[in-house]
Each structure stands twice: as structure tokens, then as C-alpha cells.
Symmetry: C2
Subunit: 140 residues, 2 copies
């Protein structure tokens, strides 16, 4: 039960964009360099295409192009970044939409439902603005 | 971020043993039949060997052999069953022991630490006795 590597890398990249928000687009090669992911450039390219398609980041083409957050860091949550990559979080089969386990009266399902709500609530309450490396005054 | 199939099957099997606790060993073929996992008998054999090695269940050999819980359902938690299979739960790389991500001052790690504690706390608070299909009076 662990966050996927793709979602983990998406979070790392999104935090770079939150750190640099308002300073123009950041090239993906620079995002990778900052996070020590230069060897994973091709993988990050795929991840950022998904983030752009899901409306979490915006791709800006051209010589000075790169990526920016689609919305300000204070309006983008950790949950949005993670679910853009993984789809709706599901801690167990019964938590998928629709559920992938249909056992009637399952005594364990309420436990997973409770956990699922807690995890989504915590991740949904954390904005990228709260997670940047920038001094608090510089956050937007 | 989803429970492994092995841990999910371990939980299903353990609940059968909780349902039948005090009624003697339950053959694995019967555990599989009850949970609709007869096609996964070979897989369940491996899972139950791990559960036995980790002290969650006890294997009883012989003609009337099978498995029982090593401790009463009220003394066996969902967390113990899951961690017997998956090892200590780790929602992200930084939550492994030792951590598999060493970024200094990571702003996201406290979020994962908080979530990790919540998930382990909920799973550790649920005993198999609370999750059996038996009437409450019959639980031990």
C-alpha cells in the first residue's frame, strides 16, 4: 500500500512549480535537475503530459516555454496532483468506483471507507502553497 | 496506493478463522471455498505459510488438520494480518524503515508521517473479533 512512483514524481515536480510560481514557465529539464530526477527525464515527460491533460499544470510552448501550475499553489492540493496521476485514490478493491469487490455485508468495508475518507481528507487539505520551500511571505 | 492482493486475501482468510475460532482447525481448502477463492488455492497456500511463519495463524498437521488463529480474534488486529504479509506499512518511500528517500527538509514528509500514523492507528484498533460474521455473543 504505497504511493506510485509516478504520483511521487508528480508531487516532486509540482512543488518545484509552486516554488517558482509567478516567475514564468519552468522547463522540464530544469524541474528534473532541481529534484535530482535528470535520469528520469523521459518518465517525467509522460507524467507532466498527464498533469497537463488533467488541468493541474499548463504547458507553454516556445523557446522560453516550460510548465507552470494551472492554478495558484494555494488553490492546488496534494490530492489533486496525486489523483491526476493515480485516478481516484482507492485503498482497497471495495473503494473503487464502481467497487471491484461486491461481497455483501462485508465487515471490513466500513474500515476501508473510513480510512479512505481520512486519507483523501488530509491530502485534500494540503495545498502546494503549504508545501513549498519558499519563505511564507513569498507564497501565493 | 492500494492494499496488495496478498494482504487482501490474507484478511479474507483470517476472518474465516475468526468466524470459526474455538471450533478446531479449518482446512485451507475450506477457507478458500467459504471466501470464493478456490481457484486461488495455490496462492492462498503461500499466503498462509507466511501468516504461520509470522505467528498470526497456527498450522495443525494431520488428517483433521488445517489452520487456526494463533491468538483469539479479540487479540489479533487487522494491522497484524496486513503487516505479516506486506511488512510494516509504508504509504510512501520516506516512511520505510530505514527511509528510502533522504531529501533534507522535505515539506511533504510530515504529511505522509501523519497519514501513516492515522492508517496504522485505525488498522491497529480493529480486531478480527470486531470483523467476524458471527453474532456478537459468540465472539471471543
Amino acid at each position: 500500500m504505497q504511493l506510485s512512483k509516478a504520483a511521487e514524481y508528480a508531487v516532486r515536480g509540482a512543488i518545484v512549480l509552486a516554488d517558482r510560481y509567478g516567475q514564468g514557465p519552468v522547463p522540464l529539464v530544469e524541474i528534473c535537475r532541481v529534484r535530482g530526477l535528470s535520469k528520469s527525464f523521459a518518465y517525467m515527460t509522460k507524467i507532466f503530459r498527464i498533469l497537463a491533460r488533467r488541468g493541474v499544470v499548463r504547458a507553454i510552448r516556445g523557446k522560453n516555454g516550460g510548465y507552470t501550475l494551472a492554478r495558484p499553489p494555494a488553490k492546488t492540493t496534494l490530492l489533486e496532483v496525486i489523483e491526476a496521476i493515480e485516478g481516484r485514490l482507492a485503498l482497497n478493491l471495495c473503494q473503487h468506483t464502481p467497487p471491484q469487490c461486491h461481497e455483501p455485508n462485508c465487515p471490513v468495508r466500513p474500515v476501508w471507507t473510513q480510512l479512505q475518507e481520512q486519507v483523501r481528507s488530509v491530502l485534500g487539505s494540503k495545498t502546494l502553497a503549504q508545501l513549498t520551500h519558499r519563505p511564507r511571505r513569498a507564497r501565493r
